[in-house]
Symmetry: C2
DNA sequence: AAATTATTTTAGCCTCATCTAAATTTGTTT
DNA sequence: AAACAAATTTAGATGAGGCTAAAATAATTT
């Protein structure tokens, strides 16, 4: 059995790996809120357990064993997020922190029951894909909202779950995964992006727009 | 925030206190599966935090602060047990181990949602009373099955949740809280107790019968 | 290319929760 | 009441996982 701490590291490595390609000590230090020195010593331990490969000063990579565990935890996390929303009505900006703790103590049996209850879903409330039981996750083509040209009709695919405040704002304007909207304009001087949905226009900051993934709506 | 370990100690102290009156180092050592020396050092820490009072060589007692925390954890545990059974169909012999882990990471908000979902229940699947939010638990008058005289009609009040195998056996013969049955006889030489329910007779070992609480059925 | 800055690693220390072995206190026999 | 047995506590060690400060390496600037 792996410690909660190890599980958190593997998950963080997976996430940095897919979002940035290279996994540096400082990125993990930042993400996990621990000192760089702590990261290095954990990397040593994970290497010994053959869950990652580590070249001194060169960053780390998950082995397939490590990736499998990371995906298992992410699967727990996302099933729990969806479950809490569907079964208990927990608002989408709160499910993340609840899942963050529960994911480490969820048994396989309960995981299966939840999966079945939800009808074997493929995405969580934020639109993130749920890894399958055998440790694979679909890859999707999509763009960050911040990179979309004005005058484009797009469909929201996924919103990052890490900032509750952003989620509350987006929920307030009715912006969820599957929502269709038009990118009206990008205000100059790094100003906000203006989107139109349900007939109204709303501003979305450039930084927030990095965390909203969309695809071109086909119509 | 208290560590999981501290929460487990407080819960164990509460349980020993109510079932045996006096809380000895060895009883806790036994119950928690740690060495007596570990118990002593934890007692020192809990004393410093004013969660228990401890006289050297004389056992410990919960303070009201300590009792409140113990009851909060027990409330989590029992609400979770019932929730897993009702909402996800987890069999009653499995809910305990799942609750044992989840109880430590349940937020107050989620606790309230679960409580509401269940309609503010007062007992868990094993018949144990669920402490109220403000930290009180009802006390009931009842006898261990092992102490009941033959020829008595009784109603099951509560069954200990700690032995899955016993729970499976009891479930198999249809013995649950609220079930009415007749104590037919107590076999000699510490033999089993014979009970009759739904027209059939079943043996229950003396030891198991210590963990089944009943009250005289009034009819 | 040398110097400076940024990143990563090493060295050494801390806290938590556990352990074993030895010492102390309490309880029970003879 | 002395001796023995049982329970409890103390002393000292261990392994996780974190920290800071200093050293080593890599990256960037001048």
């Amino acid at each position: 059995m792996l410690s909660q701490s190890i599980e958190d590291y593997l998950k963080a490595i997976y996430e940095v790996e897919t979002s940035e390609g290279k996994v540096s000590t400082s990125a993990l230090s930042e993400k996990l809120g621990v000192s760089p020195a702590s990261v290095t010593s954990m990397m040593k331990k994970l290497s010994e357990k053959k869950l990652i490969t580590h070249k001194r000063y060169q960053g780390v990579k998950l082995t397939s064993a490590g990736r499998k565990i990371a995906l298992e935890i992410i699967r727990h996390h996302r099933l729990i997020e969806l479950y809490l929303k569907e079964a208990l009505g927990v608002p989408w900006d709160q499910v993340h922190q609840e899942a963050e703790k529960w994911e480490h103590v969820l048994s396989e049996d309960l995981e299966d029951r939840i999966d079945k209850f939800l009808g074997y879903p493929v995405t969580d409330p934020h639109g993130s894909p749920i890894p399958s039981r055998d440790g694979t996750m679909i890859v999707r083509e999509c763009d960050a909202l911040v990179d979309v040209e004005p005058e484009t009709l797009v469909k929201v695919v996924e919103v990052s779950d890490h900032d509750p405040e952003l989620l509350r704002y987006l929920g307030g304007i009715g912006l969820y995964p599957e929502t269709e909207m038009t990118v009206v304009s990008k205000q100059p001087f790094k100003g906000p992006i203006i989107v139109e949905l349900t007939g109204k226009e709303y501003p979305i900051g450039r930084n927030a727009a990095k965390y909203i993934l969309v695809e071109k709506a086909n119509n």
